[in-house]
């Protein structure tokens, strides 16, 4: 208790300097926490993926489609419980800046595969019953202030024309990581419209989502699916939903590495700032440490005072930084809109913040402690007066 009192009083002996150091640490921890949350947001899709779901796509590339006929063939493979197809629509809502993911789906099966999308039963039934119906996640609804029955018009990019949909359902995410920024409509509606204009892109799916009966057999089932279509015109690549999402993340690998590097730079900066404060502090108080030694205080007690003071400063900055991170993340989330499925500060980030701050406190105190402990008492006393 006495030591803590001494540490706190010492830490705030130079109020302006300590306050500025704490402010620096607060900003650094805030930046570090936001960068970590940013990286986590990138991986949110993979984190929310189900172990029992596989994704089958064209082995050449996701942009190449798969025949509709594959659906029944996949369903007949041993270990498969359910199959649903989906197709990237890439429609634009009013303006290109209003980006959100929109898919044509094999609605009944697709929604059965994703129990984490929770609908009021009447809305789900209304969506399934209406060929021109569509449904959207809560975040999209809130952003564009849509309501049930609204006509939502998308301008086609891959599929030219103006496409009108009637909003029939609004889903909420069962989990915090569930994506609530998706827009779905019936693949049948797309396919029939394409048939009407004689498009060559009818009866095609972009990918199939496959639910396996036993997640432990996921790899085996994936191999069986790909084997089935080997040497066909459209060979498949089947992988777990997690691997599928991670393949998207890997496309942004360089950005993620850059962000991680920036995180480390932030840590190095706060070590430098804190070390500078502690070095100045220890230099000013070298005479006092000599007095403590004179009174019989040994090196480890002096070290405890310096390291303790460094930790007090860094932990106060860390606590402020942690307290500010969630509201800052909320503001950031609003700015980036629906780009990330989830932008929430997780507990792991907070633990890493605390661990980092403690390490910074310890690192910053190493050199000042070494000097204070090693200085001869007579030399230290000469610095007074």
């Amino acid at each position: 208790m006495y030591l803590l009192k001494l540490l706190l009083r010492n830490a705030f002996r130079h109020k302006l300097r300590t306050s500025l150091t704490i402010l620096s640490i607060t900003i650094a921890i805030l930046a570090f926490g936001l960068l970590r949350t940013f990286i986590n947001a990138w991986y949110a899709g993979a984190e929310a993926s189900s172990a029992s779901r596989l994704v089958t796509r064209n082995a050449i590339s996701l942009i190449f489609p798969l025949p509709l006929a594959y659906k029944d063939k996949i369903r007949q493979i041993d270990g498969v419980r359910l199959v649903a197809g989906g197709r990237w629509f890439a429609g634009i809502y009013i303006d290109e800046k209003n980006f959100f993911a929109n898919y044509a789906i094999d609605a009944k099966n697709y929604l059965a595969l994703y129990p984490e999308f929770t609908f009021p039963p009447d809305q789900k039934a209304a969506f399934l019953a209406d060929r021109r119906g569509c449904c959207a996640g809560r975040k999209l609804i809130e952003k564009y202030r849509w309501k049930i029955g609204d006509i939502i018009t998308l301008k086609g990019t891959l599929y030219p024309g103006t496409w009108g949909f009637v909003l029939r359902g609004i889903y909420d995410g069962r989990d915090a990581s569930t994506d609530e920024r998706l827009f779905f409509f019936h693949w049948d509606y797309l396919n029939e419209s394409l048939k009407k204009i004689g498009s060559s892109r009818t009866d095609q799916m972009g990918w199939y989502v496959v639910e396996v009966q036993d997640p432990n057999r996921a790899a085996e089932v994936a191999q069986a699916i790909d084997r089935t279509f080997k040497n066909s015109l459209a060979e498949t690549l089947t992988e777990t939903e997690r691997a599928f999402f991670l393949s998207f993340v890997s496309m942004a690998g360089a950005i993620i590495v850059a962000i991680q590097l920036v995180s480390f730079v932030v840590i190095i900066i706060i070590i430098a700032v804190t070390a500078n404060t502690m070095a100045m502090t220890a230099r000013e108080r070298i005479g006092e440490y000599a007095v403590f030694k004179t009174l019989g205080y040994r090196g480890w007690r002096i070290a405890g005072m310096i390291i303790g003071e460094s930790l007090v400063i860094t932990m106060i900055g860390c606590l402020f930084g942690i307290a500010l991170t969630p509201p800052a993340a909320k503001v950031f989330s609003k700015i980036v809109g629906t780009y990330f499925r989830a932008f929430q500060v997780d507990m792991a980030t907070i633990y890493i913040d605390i661990g980092t701050a403690m390490l910074v406190g310890l690192f910053a105190a190493i050199v000042p402690t070494w000097r204070a402990v090693k200085i001869r008492i007579a030399d230290g006393l000469r610095r007074i007066g």
């Binding site: 001494l6 019989g296 008492i377």
Partner: protein, 234 residues
């Protein structure tokens, strides 16, 4: 009648400092005995080595050669850690610039040496209050050093020096930063501690009036100790 062994016995002590490639001798073959209950003043011009000798007696610095025994213990053979423990029990320090910790109250400053002992909080409080009463500052125990005058700060430093009841007090220019009135109060106090509490005091000073309060005065000149002690006080 058998003569009592001295409390401090210094034999053939040499000490020099190093400045780059240069070695500067500070103390040359110093031998000195200080009796228990003595009040010794070490005098000499600046650079004569008096503060260095005081530091060696108080185990704040180490000799190049020679031995220093205090209470029969050869302190030149002790490790850093052993010296720290020895100082905490045996020596009280009074500095020219008081050297109080500015963020601690008078009470807390005096309590500092007691934190190294096994005393309970209540026992520590009792000791601190007694020490502050001895220096007549019991009413100022909650004041910070910046709220005290120079003389009061030095009296707090004396309270801190005596709170563990050490056998020896060492004082380096204890009145050097004080006005005449405060200096007189401090010297009166030291005299009382010597006469009433039988504390052995070694004081470095360049002020003849301060030195007059001591029972014995020794002069250092260019690292050498004059052989003949002066009897100061009657």
């Amino acid at each position: 009648m058998k003569r009592k062994a001295p409390l401090v016995k210094i034999e053939h002590v040499h000490k020099s400092y190093h400045r780059g490639a240069h070695t500067i001798p500070v103390l040359e073959d110093i031998s000195l005995a200080i009796a228990e209950g003595e009040f010794l003043a070490l005098m000499g011009p600046s650079g004569s080595g008096k503060s260095t000798l005081l530091n060696l007696i108080a185990a704040l610095d180490q000799v190049d050669s020679g031995t220093i025994r205090v209470g029969g213990i050869d302190i030149t053979s002790l490790s850093e850690s052993e010296l720290a423990a020895w100082r905490a029990v045996n020596v009280g320090f009074i500095f020219q610039f008081y050297n109080l910790i500015p963020v601690l109250t008078a009470f807390e400053n005096v309590e500092l040496p007691l934190l190294l002992t096994g005393l309970s909080r209540g026992e520590r409080r009792e000791h601190v209050e007694i020490a502050l009463q001895v220096v007549n500052l019991a009413s100022r125990m909650d004041h910070y050093p910046a709220q005290l005058s120079g003389g009061e700060q030095q009296r707090v430093a004396i309270a801190r020096a005596i709170v563990t009841d050490p056998v020896m007090l060492v004082a380096d220019e204890p009145t050097g930063d004080l006005d005449k009135v405060s200096a007189t109060e401090v010297l009166d106090l030291m005299e009382r501690l010597n006469s009433d509490s039988r504390k052995t005091i070694v004081m470095v000073t360049h002020d003849p009036r301060s030195a007059e309060r001591a029972k014995v005065i020794r002069h250092l000149e260019k690292g050498f100790l004059n052989n003949v002690p002066s009897q100061a006080a009657p």
